[in-house]
Symmetry: C2
DNA sequence: TTAGGATATTTGCATGTACAAGCAAGTGAG
DNA sequence: CTCACTTGCTTGTACATGCAAATATCCTAA
């Protein structure tokens, strides 16, 4: 159809389409762990930076603070992180259980990388990720 | 932070971040019309292809059929499209009102294009859109 | 002609995310 | 010291989207 050309020349469209595709892929890779990719990434950040604040997590993950709250809620419920509230700030600590899970999370991450690199090529995937990263940064700062 | 580098090398992350940024931009551009970008695009497709089916719309828009149903519901309620059901298939027709709105939709689309081209550069935005389109296609066919 | 599968659409439910408002704690000027 | 302002987080609510199941129609082969 003719209008396809128009749509496919619109960044709004292509970006959202790609996001849905890669989200699906990501969910598949992390499903064996019972985690969403975002949850898994939050845990990794907590493992590498124990005591990190909610706000810093939001910054790293490019998510709204409230979204981080929900993610963290779920992980606290699963016993994967601990939330220590001091004053107005909340610090997130990984639990023992999270440490045990770490290798599987890393593996799932690798498998996600594998999955899209198989389709896009190692270099192609990398380049695309970088261009998108730069563009997102510019648009975010707008 | 160190983990930032890891995250920013992950297509899942960057793609979703970009999608959120551009979605926000898109919503701003179409807000004056009281439409979401997806709704606006659906109307454009209906204007260019009166009688188009629900399924074809889903294909063009890269959305799940159920999503198109909801979008269409909203537009029917607003009196912008008409749904004619024949047998098992539903054809979507633009109303008079949609025709009148068309120029404003086109203008909003242009302004969206302007907005991100101003940030990414005309060429940069175009190239990025094309790479993303190709990647999304490959990943979708996976 | 009709039973069974294929196809198109819609509905029920779940998920991820955001915004706005609320709350709790820190901070600075008088 | 205290009152207004700011900051960081959480809760209420809303929305776009998807999957799976339900529904309705169409088609084909016996």
């Amino acid at each position: 159809m003719d209008s396809d050309r128009l749509l496919n020349n619109c960044l709004y469209f292509t970006a959202n389409t790609l996001a849905r595709a890669i989200t699906k892929l990501g969910e598949e890779c992390f499903k064996p762990l019972g985690l969403s990719p975002s949850q898994a990434f939050l845990i990794m950040l907590a493992l590498e930076n124990p005591g990190i604040s909610s706000g810093e997590l939001a910054g790293c993950l490019n998510l709204a603070p409230s979204t981080v709250t929900r993610l963290a809620d779920a992980l606290v419920a699963r016993g994967l992180i601990e939330r220590r509230t001091q004053g107005k700030s909340a610090s997130i600590h990984p639990t023992e259980q999270a440490t045990e899970l770490a290798p599987r999370i890393a593996a799932a991450w690798k498998s996600l990388h594998r999955a899209y690199s198989d389709v896009l090529g190692e270099q192609g995937g990398h380049d695309l990720t970088q261009s998108i990263h730069k563009a997102a940064k510019k648009l975010g700062e707008r």
